[in-house]
């Protein structure tokens, strides 16, 4: 093995490795921006001033390190708080606040109200009067200690809202005779 061959071979290897590593540690925008952990910026200011490098860093701001953070922030919230519904449905909000359903959000029964609060139409919101709607919370399946449950034999066949007001469930509009 001659020295020349060794030199050339090792030289090529070193160049390949150096290119790859310097690419990460010097060119990579994140490292340019933040520096190496614990050591800080390892890139001299002069290099940062080079036009190519400046382009890359500028590109970071423009997009290819995307501005996802702003995008995440600019997403619209679809679910509204109760107060938003209350702006137009004051009577229901007042009703529900003082009832046993006070901990419930309007939208856990009525579905998402994003569209509805813009359109204000009846069809843009769900009004589910079925027994299943109430039973999704109140059926006495196992593991529901945290809520007052009823079984299927609680006046079967009659919709819950016939007797209970959904927004004030304990005001029962039913008497033994009817």
């Amino acid at each position: 093995m001659r020295k020349k061959a060794l030199l050339i071979g090792i030289g090529i290897t070193a160049i390949v490795y150096a290119l790859a590593f310097s690419y990460i540690f010097l060119i990579s925008p994140i490292i340019l921006e933040q520096g190496v952990p614990w050591i800080g910026s390892i890139v001299p200011v002069q290099i940062k001033e080079l036009p190519i490098v400046r382009d890359i860093v500028a590109g970071v701001e423009k997009g290819y390190i995307s501005n996802w953070f702003e995008k995440e922030l600019s997403k619209k919230a679809k679910y509204k708080e109760n107060e938003v519904c209350g702006e137009c449905h004051k009577e229901y909000l007042d009703l529900i606040i003082s009832s046993n359903h006070s901990s419930l959000a309007c939208e856990s029964c009525h579905g998402v109200g994003e569209e509805h609060s813009k359109l204000r139409t009846a069809w843009s919101i769900v009004v589910d009067r079925s027994r299943d709607a109430c039973m999704s919370c109140h059926l006495n399946v196992s593991g529901r200690e945290a809520i007052v449950t009823v079984d299927e034999n609680h006046y079967p066949g009659v919709k819950c809202v016939v007797c209970h007001d959904a927004h004030d469930p304990l005001s029962i509009s039913w008497s033994e005779g009817s």
Partner: protein, 409 residues
């Protein structure tokens, strides 16, 4: 060349192209709306890495670098006759492997951001890509120097081979000092060392990629070593298969008997080490003290869903039968060695699938229950296409490069 030969070659190439087209169809179907309405081709079902990752593992862990370097770097003369083919095949497998994993990505085109430096230098996967790219670059440089002397001679030839040689040797640059035959050879040796070094880093880094996960079947210190060892198994068996195949095509099967015998020893040795590591990994993971989940994960292999794959194919067909074949009198004949190599490769392919899919069966998570390990028909098509691509590229390079098998004659 006889017309029968060229007809056969045309049929072979055509077949490979058809298979590649099938693979391409599979890829397109994977990433676009499938024609056949099927369950979405997503990891939603709970197994994010599937057949394509296994294929990738198989290809990039081909270990042919190691086989090629045995003669080049370590100067073991018996392996000289197969070094050329091993080099070509190692380049082809790694490149196709990387292609496969790129196709498995959900958004390959985003790689552009990454090339501009949007990378996380703390990620094992990033280093995996990095090291494999370095390996490919070094491998190409090594091959350039390795074949350079013969390519320079090939420049005189007419036709495609001549043109190819003229282009890749960069003869028009008139690099006088690189026409020294001994120098070229010696540089190739140094580069071979560098490639081997990078390859081993890449293999063990790939092992770490899996082992660093929290999945109990993968987690552990043994996976990187196991990957290097199985790479040797893959490399020697692939080398045996290609050697016998190309000798058979050329019509002189006994030509490289010595090399095959040497490869046989390598394969046997690697199989024994592999068996030991597989057993050991199994043991320390399945042993009750390793924890509930770890033993549950191993139960998938020992008695569960992957038991057949593991015991029959991986252990039986992949390790025991080849070992028995190699030590038995059949190991003296070429067909015996070839059979052992094919069986070992089958075992390796299944062990890759088992590792990737089986590792994810028992997740540490309780959220997404993993019931089944679906292998999608489109994935199978893609894997077949990748295999055909390897064969075709190997064939093309074999035709273009001045491969020499005459060393022993």
């Amino acid at each position: 060349m006889a017309t029968g030969d060229s007809l056969r070659e045309a049929i072979f190439v055509g077949l490979m192209i058809v298979l590649i087209c099938i693979g391409a169809f599979g890829v397109i179907q994977m990433h676009t709306e499938p024609i056949v309405p099927i369950e979405p081709f997503e990891s939603a079902i709970g197994i994010p890495w599937r057949l394509l990752v296994a294929t990738y593992l198989f290809f990039v862990l081909s270990g042919l670098c190691i086989i090629a370097s045995l003669s080049e770097v370590f100067g073991i003369k018996k392996f000289t006759a197969i070094a050329d083919e091993a080099l070509i095949l190692s380049l082809v497998t790694v490149v196709v492997g990387l292609t496969v994993i790129a196709l498995d990505l959900e958004r390959v085109e985003r790689g552009a951001y990454a090339t501009l430096g949007h990378v996380n230098a703390g990620s094992v996967m990033f280093w995996m890509i990095m090291f494999y790219i370095i390996e490919v670059v070094l491998l190409i440089i090594e091959m350039w120097f390795h074949f350079r002397n013969r390519l320079l001679k090939q420049c005189e030839e007419r036709g495609l081979r001549g043109i190819f040689a003229k282009i890749v040797t960069l003869r028009f640059l008139r690099l006088k000092f690189l026409e020294d035959e001994r120098l070229n050879h010696e540089i190739a040796v140094v580069m071979g060392f560098a490639t081997l070094f990078t390859a081993i880093i890449a293999y063990s880094n790939l092992g770490a990629l899996f082992a660093a996960n929290y999945l109990p079947a993968w987690h552990g210190p043994l996976l990187p070593i196991l990957f290097v060892v199985t790479a040797v198994v893959t490399g020697s068996s692939l080398s045996i298969i290609t050697t016998v195949a190309s000798d058979w095509v050329r019509g002189d099967v006994l030509k490289r008997y010595e090399s095959l015998q040497a490869l046989k020893f390598l394969l046997g040795f690697a199989l024994i080490v592999q068996a030991f590591f597989v057993g050991w990994k199994m043991l320390i993971t399945a042993y009750p003290t390793a924890g509930e989940l770890a033993s549950k994960a191993m139960a998938a292999y020992i008695t569960g869903k992957f038991a057949f794959n593991f015991w029959i194919i991986e252990v039986g067909i992949g390790m025991l039968i080849p070992l028995l074949l190699l030590v038995s009198p059949a190991g003296k004949s070429i067909s015996g060695i070839l059979l052992a190599a094919i069986l070992a490769i089958t075992g390796i392919i299944f062990s890759r699938i088992d590792l990737v899919l089986g590792g994810q069966v028992v997740k540490l998570i309780s959220g997404v229950n993993v019931g089944n390990t679906p292998i999608h028909p489109f994935e199978v098509m893609t894997a077949i296409g990748a295999g055909a691509l390897v064969v075709l590229l190997y064939y093309v390079l074999y035709k273009l490069l001045p491969v020499e098998v005459e060393h022993e004659a």
